[in-house]
Symmetry: C2
Subunit: 235 residues, 2 copies
């Protein structure tokens, strides 16, 4: 008989050695987040760290004029916010729930305690930070080199992977903010994707019809980030 091992639903946690997972359940509060619910604020002390289960969180950089641009997308492959694994209780960025779902929430004190007391835990978190850094860098290049259509397809591909469902809710307006472009720019791109047969789109609900086509329409940044996160879980 195999021993029952707690499974949180977050890949980062579930990839930890059994010793770390044994007492994990007590440190995690399962919280269901509504779409657009904020989870961290830039410059504020973090009270907790979130390990998404089926929620998708977005990390954004906010400019002085109020514009926000997405600088990271986090699903069950990661956690929010990276700063906690870099010896800081302050979040440098704002984050919120992009697609409704559950997260495993750990108090910052328990997180920090695990960081100091478990080498395997600390390494697992840092490997994820590494992928997040890679991802932010990739976005920097992507934002200046790829078209709105490519970036839309990239975003939808990344989100589909994280949601784990071909359908999820998202308005053009919101996606435009994430990509740092105008709303009609997204509408045009979304329409093009619809005409291609890659997706259908209706009143804030996306459905991916042809995943391969969607992925192929996305720029290389989709695969690059996917591989970076996969590698960070594997190694």
């Amino acid at each position: 008989m195999t021993p029952r091992v707690y499974s949180s639903g977050n890949q980062l946690l579930d990839g930890l050695p059994q010793a770390d997972r044994a007492d994990l359940e007590a440190d995690l509060e399962i919280v269901t987040l509504a779409a657009h619910k904020f989870t961290q604020s830039a410059g504020r002390v973090m009270d907790y760290v979130d390990f998404p289960i089926d929620a998708v969180l977005s990390v954004v950089a906010t400019l002085k004029n109020g514009d926000s641009v997405e600088v990271g997308t986090v699903g069950s492959e990661g956690f929010v916010e990276s700063d906690a694994a870099l010896d800081s209780p302050f979040s440098q960025r704002t984050s919120f729930c992009q697609v409704r779902g559950r997260v495993g929430r750990m108090s910052i004190s328990r997180f920090e305690s695990r960081m100091t007391n478990s080498g395997s835990f600390a390494r697992q978190m840092r490997r994820n930070v590494r992928a997040s850094l890679f991802s932010a860098q990739q976005f920097a290049a992507c934002n200046v080199k790829h078209s709105i259509l490519q970036r839309c397809a990239r975003w939808l591909s990344m989100t589909e992977d994280r949601v784990g469902s071909v359908e999820f809710t998202l308005t053009h307006d919101f996606l435009a903010i994430m990509l740092g472009v105008r709303r009609p720019g997204v509408s045009e791109a979304a329409n093009a994707l619809q005409k291609l047969g890659a997706i259908t789109y209706s009143r804030g609900a996306v459905r991916v019809l042809d995943r391969a086509l969607l992925n192929a329409t996305a720029c290389e940044c989709y695969q690059a980030c996917k591989h970076a996160f996969a590698a960070s879980l594997r190694e």
Copy 2:
């Protein structure tokens, strides 16, 4: 009589507690890098880590079509490459010397040994990674929201701070690659900055005439990154 304490010229190292600095000299080889000399390659094992003294290094993301975009600038406030502080001997990105000068070079094995054996060393490195992450995220937003003129001014401001001299060498062509734009785009912006009286520019040599004006022409991202790196050294 105050004890003679080794000073490397790199702020990150010189900000370490005395215990860490005591035997630092033996682990550092002072290397003078020529402009455009590569120091790390994406996907390759790192042999060493560089702590710039008066050199300025650039970290770039390279796309499949060969285009490179700068995703990090590193002077004496930091080190290259962050991945070493994130439990990985592999560099995720390519880096090279942007402005000729000296770096303190430490073998990856000595670096890793210090990371495991000195908490203060590890914390100092991770605080810098945190600033690098912030910076990469800021670039992502900047690249999609700010004009070429603003980004040129940002780049020149950042580099002037790191070089520690009002004059340094840099061609329009190279700056265009870093910013991910066309060379004539940079020429126009550089010309505008020259007409404003912020800089002079001639055959690959920039001279900053009016630092305040240059900084003011730059987007907020200049100050944001500056503060992030300053805070990472202070805390």
